[in-house]
């Protein structure tokens, strides 16, 4: 099965980090990513720019309405994701628990729902 592991963290706290702390978490992420590529779990990943760069789009009465900011203001914001292949939820949770961000924020584990074509 495939799972999307969504990494949530408090952006304000992340921006307040020292360069040294940022450096160390970046290298932790690189190591983790290398690990799951080698183990064959890795399907894809990206980090996202902060919500201050986000736009929200809606189409109403045929008109495109674009607004500044994320869809919902929450305490923790989506900051990146991994797409992984795992045998079952236990394996996906074990991978999610190794994401460096799990120690700071939280990881939402969502099973992928394949399209029926």
């Amino acid at each position: 099965m495939q799972y999307l592991l969504l990494i949530y963290a408090n952006e304000a706290e992340m921006e307040g980090r020292t360069p040294a702390a940022t450096q160390s978490i970046t290298s932790e992420y690189m190591e983790f990513t290398k690990g799951i590529i080698q183990s064959g779990h890795f399907k894809g990943a990206d980090r996202l720019r902060p919500t201050s760069t986000a736009s929200t789009v809606r189409v109403r009465n045929g008109k495109v309405v674009t607004t500044d900011g994320p869809f919902a203001e929450t305490r923790e914001q989506l900051g990146g994701y991994y797409m992984v292949e795992a045998k079952n939820l236990d394996e996906a949770v074990a991978i999610a628990a190794r994401i460096p961000g799990a120690k700071i924020g939280s990881i939402e584990v969502r099973p992928v729902w394949p399209m029926e074509t």
Binding site: M1, Y3, A86, K87, N88, L89, D90, A92, V93, V109, P111, W113, E116
Partner: protein, 397 residues
């Protein structure tokens, strides 16, 4: 069967098919191993069902057939009985998976492992049968769609996950032992199911300190069930219970299990400590023979293992029996000052009791009234009303 078929609903249909087939075929004679027969038949029926559906569904199902058939060929019939025990254990870990809500875990366990009807589970949760049916469907859908495994976790994870399983079993028991709302104080059916689950776990995971401790704890509590309530449905406190009503067979079994649990070195389970406390209560043939100093000591062990306001409260009650009400009142007031348990009726009830023993009757009355307002069970409310009445006649404190 669920492990073999990988789908709750399919397994349930297969089970029904297998039972229907059994009714037909067993007229001619019951097979040597009826359980294995049912599992085999259920699996074959499921393969039939999958075959019938495959016309409408995708390639994924074809793979399921292949693996179900491969399994059918691979497992010889003699191995089925042992495999059945393993299957039950897998099912327990599935139903008690932490990715399901606590309530869903209890409901699924009652429905799928204890075999209670949806209606009976609904009654335990005080919801309608329809609402419970929907909850069960949602939970099963999550098991399927989120890929919750039918698997007994490997040892490092097992110890963590067994805690969740024990919490579910104890949850079933306490719901039966002190239903959280309504008129009945004890629901014997739920207590019985929880004990049955405890025995099953003990059979499947022998010499596990948590399992032994929990089973002992449940048996020792359940042994006193008949003496906990008067014919009129009023609460009878431990000190006033008719000890001749206690179930000696359950007590003996419970005591043996506590000993066994506490003898496993370096693995003290909080359940075993609680069971040891319950054991000290039932070992006393008369209330005044109770070994309170040792009970205080055990509560202190428990507070280190698993600190909680409820245990602090129980500790304070035990302290009152050793050092008197004044010291116990101090403990309770410091607990209340930390502000986690203001809504807990038993805290106010205990506080009222200590104040009454100290002769501070006006404050005792206020505490009892607070307890009365917060209690949801009728028998407990009546007990508080009786306490308030007893303040007017200060002969007995």
């Amino acid at each position: 069967m669920i492990r073999l078929l990988g789908d709750f609903d399919l397994a349930e249909e297969a089970r029904q098919d297998a039972f229907a087939a059994a009714i037909e075929q067993w007229k001619a004679g019951v097979p040597a191993n009826p359980r294995a027969w049912l599992i085999n038949t259920g699996r074959n029926k499921a393969v039939d069902r999958i075959r019938r559906e495959v016309v409408f569904r995708t390639k994924i199902l074809e793979r399921e057939i292949a693996s179900a058939e491969a399994d059918a060929d691979a497992v010889p019939e003699e191995a089925e009985d042992e495999a059945y025990g393993d299957d039950r254990l897998r099912l327990i870990f599935t139903c008690c998976h932490p990715a399901l809500s606590g309530e869903a875990q209890v409901a699924l366990t009652l429905r799928e492992i204890c075999g209670l009807s949806t209606q009976a589970v609904a009654r335990a949760f005080l919801v309608t049968e329809e609402a419970m049916g929907q909850r069960l469907v949602r939970a099963k859908r999550k098991i399927r769609d989120a890929g919750i495994p039918y698997e007994t976790p490997a040892p490092p994870l097992l110890n963590q996950r067994i805690e969740g399983v024990l919490a579910v079993v104890y949850g079933v028991f306490t719901e039966g032992y002190a239903a959280t709302a309504g008129t009945r104080l004890v629901d014997a059916e739920l207590c019985g199911e929880a004990i049955r689950l405890g025995r099953l776990l003990d059979e499947l995971l022998p010499m596990n300190p948590g399992v032994l401790g929990l089973l002992a704890l449940m048996l020792l509590h359940d042994a006193r069930r008949l003496s906990r309530m008067s014919d009129e449905g009023d609460v009878i406190l431990l000190e006033d219970q008719d000890r001749s009503l206690w179930d000696q067979a359950k007590i003996d079994e419970g005591l043996t299990l506590v000993d066994r649990a506490l003898r496993i070195p370096e693995q003290v389970s909080p359940y075993a400590v609680q069971a040891a406390i319950a054991a000290l209560h039932v070992r006393a043939r008369k209330q005044h023979e109770t070994d309170w100093p040792q009970i205080v000591g055990l509560y202190e062990v428990l507070l280190r293992l698993q600190p909680s306001p409820v245990i602090e409260l129980n500790h304070a009650v035990a302290v009152s029996m050793v050092d008197g009400a004044a010291r116990a009142l101090n403990l309770i007031d410091s607990l209340a000052a930390r502000g986690q348990v203001g809504e807990y009726h038993l805290l106010h009830a205990a506080r009222g009791r200590f104040l009454q023993q100290l002769g501070r009757l006006e404050e005792a009355g206020a505490a009892y009234r607070a307890a009365l307002d917060l209690a949801t069970l009728e028998p407990e409310r009546r007990l508080m009303a009786a306490r308030i009445a007893s303040l007017a006649a200060p002969a007995r404190a």
